[in-house]
Symmetry: C2
Subunit: 206 residues, 2 copies
DNA sequence: ACCTGAACACCGTTCAAGT
DNA sequence: ACCTGAACACCGTTCAAGT
């Protein structure tokens, strides 16, 4: 009664995605190999091509799912702005950095590859994540009694800031600043950004 | 009188670096191949190993030089804060984004690879680039009569912001915001960051 | 000291053949 | 419909041998 692999795996696509996440966690996007994923799952190197058009296609699917769980995570962290917008905004930023810190390989796959993430599915998932950020900024401005006029630009700035800190942190460039932890740097900058926006609104109102 | 390649190339190391820059420009870090660089230069795939320990070693050398020319570029753009700190800061940020836009492959090689850029030489070059940013922030604060107290943290925030915008721009995530160009987004954010810092100094002074 | 040639393991990808 | 086996081009890397 030896354990035999069935000829048909049954859930090969899911298994390959899981293996890809493993590889990403172990060595980043560079070590995501279709062959290695196939080997770990117990199929031939050619088998994945029934489910993915190419290596980049697999990477893209992984990135797409990454954006989805990323969006869920920061949405939960925002928690509809409870107990107040400032606290929730801080918590969301911390959640953003925590995701990048906990899954640097996945985060790099989502944002790192220049030409790879051209697929529309992945782009849509990324836009969804941005939208959550945008809604948070709008809610923040509303709670402070400011108009949501420049919210889109502000959301983009918040995103760029969080992304920049995350990437510099992942790549180790922030390690030189031993006394400054990433979350602290980001929090201070976000605070400045939001305060400036609110102040400008107040000044405009007279 | 046929043109014959000398057995000894003479300047193989330099030639390989140049070829690597070409490959980087054509297809990003993923298409930087030691074999392809060797082929373009006209030597065997094994020849580069006299000059570079590995593919990553070549990539690292290219990144190191990238940081050097990047540092020169933003230093020139800053131009010692002429005619005034605000204008110079804007010009430096524009120069930062222009570098990333003109050489996306090189910029990605400099910042993108997570595990690759672990070499101390490359890290030192990166730190030097950050120092230029830091000096600019200090000069900005001085010209505005504010103390240079939080300059280091502020420089890190400026860097993260510029890096974030550059990366999002390179990876195409900013294209969704058709009406907002990267330089404009960055400029607005930097302005808010600096103004908040100055205002805080003024409040503290009473 | 610097490069070639041959070799090996690995990877992406294709395709005819198996279940 | 899904997977194997064999095949090809390509790449990183090593090493003995050539100049």
């Amino acid at each position: 009664m030896t354990i035999k692999r069935k000829y048909h795996h049954g859930a090969l696509k899911e298994a390959l995605v899981d293996a890809a996440l493993e590889l990403l966690a172990e060595g980043g996007p560079a070590s995501l190999s279709l062959s290695e994923a196939a080997k770990r799952v117990g199929v031939t190197a050619a088998a994945p091509y029934r489910h993915f058009a190419s290596r980049d296609d697999l990477l893209n699917e992984v990135a797409r799912r990454g954006f989805l769980s990323f969006g869920e995570r920061i949405e939960k962290a925002w928690d509809e702005g409870r107990p107040d917008a400032s606290t929730a905004m801080w918590r969301m930023c911390a959640g953003y950095l925590a995701f990048a810190r906990d899954e640097p390989g996945l985060y790099s796959a989502m944002f790192g590859s220049v030409a790879t993430l051209s697929a529309p599915a992945s782009a849509a998932a990324a836009d969804h994540a941005l939208e959550i950020l945008w809604r948070s900024v709008v809610a923040f401005l509303q709670q402070r009694g400011a108009p949501a006029q420049g919210a889109r630009k502000l959301a983009l700035q918040v995103w760029a800031l969080a992304h920049g800190v995350a990437m510099l942190s992942i790549s180790g460039h922030l390690d030189a600043a031993k006394d400054l932890d990433p979350a602290h740097v980001l929090d201070g900058a976000i605070r400045n950004l939001m305060e400036s926006a609110i102040r400008r609104a107040e000044t405009a109102r007279g």
